[in-house]
């Protein structure tokens, strides 16, 4: 890995880690959502570093463009309920910190002794090859995903739409 790539990785990793920390510890949920956007942009930068440019653009387009906008909408729509007087913002901090730190240590202990190829052995994957996979061997999962999209949209509308007055009797 070239020094400039190493430096870029360091900067992006710092952005991702600090953003992720903000996502889980900030009391203000709106700020937490914005720092999730920081994390997603950092991960998109890491994708570019891994020479997966298409995925980086998909990440920015879908995550930052669509999902984050949706989350911000939901936060604003429920803004009245966000501050319950008796409710603290978080619970069981110490056991949760122990559990997640333990998980991190276990995962790191499991993967660090393994040896990986030090440099990528293969060429970067071109977007054309990815497209050929999606219309060839992976055509069925690709179509199933679109079915899932339709189901999710219809389900979301059915769940979130307000009940009409004549329906409220039963």
């Amino acid at each position: 890995m070239a020094p400039v790539q190493m430096m870029a990785f360091g900067v992006l990793a710092a952005v991702v880690l600090i953003g992720a920390l903000w996502v889980v510890i900030l009391k203000n949920l709106f700020r937490a959502a914005l720092s999730l956007g920081l994390v997603l942009l950092g991960v998109a930068g890491l994708f570019i570093l891994l020479e997966a440019e298409f995925l980086a653009f998909v990440q920015i387009l879908i995550y930052v463009g669509a999902i984050l906008t949706l989350v911000v909408f939901a936060i604003m729509l429920t803004a009245r309920l966000q501050t319950a007087p008796e409710a603290s913002a978080s619970r069981q901090i110490v056991p949760a910190a122990v559990a997640s730190l333990g998980l991190f240590v276990v995962l790191a202990a499991a993967t660090l002794p393994l040896t990986w190829p030090s440099a990528p052995s293969a060429e970067a994957i071109p977007p054309a090859a990815l497209g050929r996979q999606l219309i060839g061997p992976l055509a069925l999962p690709f179509e199933v995903i679109s079915l899932v999209f339709v189901a999710a949209i219809v389900g979301a509308i059915a769940v979130a739409s307000p009940r009409r007055p004549q329906d409220s009797s039963h």
């Binding site: 890995m1 990785f9 991702v16 996502v23 889980v24 949920l29 999730l36 994390v39 997603l40 890491l46 994708f47 891994l50 997966a52 995925l55 998909v58 990440q59 879908i62 995550y63 999902i67 939901a74 936060i75 729509l77 429920t78 309920l81 966000q82 319950a84 913002a89 978080s90 619970r91 949760a96 559990a99 997640s100 730190l101 998980l103 991190f104 995962l107 993967t111 660090l112 990986w116 190829p117 990528p120 052995s121 293969a122 060429e123 970067a124 994957i125 990815l130 996979q133 999606l134 992976l138 995903i145 899932v148 999209f149 999710a152 949209i153 389900g155 979301a156 769940v159 979130a160 307000p162």
Partner: protein, 98 residues
């Protein structure tokens, strides 16, 4: 290089778990789930690059699409909850309690 990426995705996953365990707000839980999904996507892309496998990126694409579905349905549930139960806190929802 692979080790650093792996450590980063482990840290992302652990932070997401911490968020799921500590957040009381349902939207905060969804944000933490997104962190965990991103850790998984990062691993897929990393190993697809290291071993030169094409389908890794396709699976990362599927994960991103499913994350979008999950966010849509989850936020619809949160909106419906805020309307019916008048709360967004996951531990205050007791509509099914007799």
């Amino acid at each position: 290089m692979v080790r650093f990426f792996l450590l980063l995705s482990h840290a992302l996953f652990a932070l997401g778990l911490y968020g799921i365990l500590t957040r009381r707000n349902a939207i905060g839980l969804l944000l933490s789930v997104e962190l965990i999904l991103n850790a998984a996507v990062l691993n897929f892309v990393l190993f697809g690059r290291v071993f030169g496998h094409v389908q890794a990126q396709a699976f990362a694409l599927f994960i991103i699409a499913l994350a979008a579905c999950e966010a849509v349905v989850g936020l619809a549930i949160v909106l419906s909850l805020s309307r019916n139960a008048k709360t967004v806190f996951a531990d205050r929802v007791d509509l099914l309690k007799g």
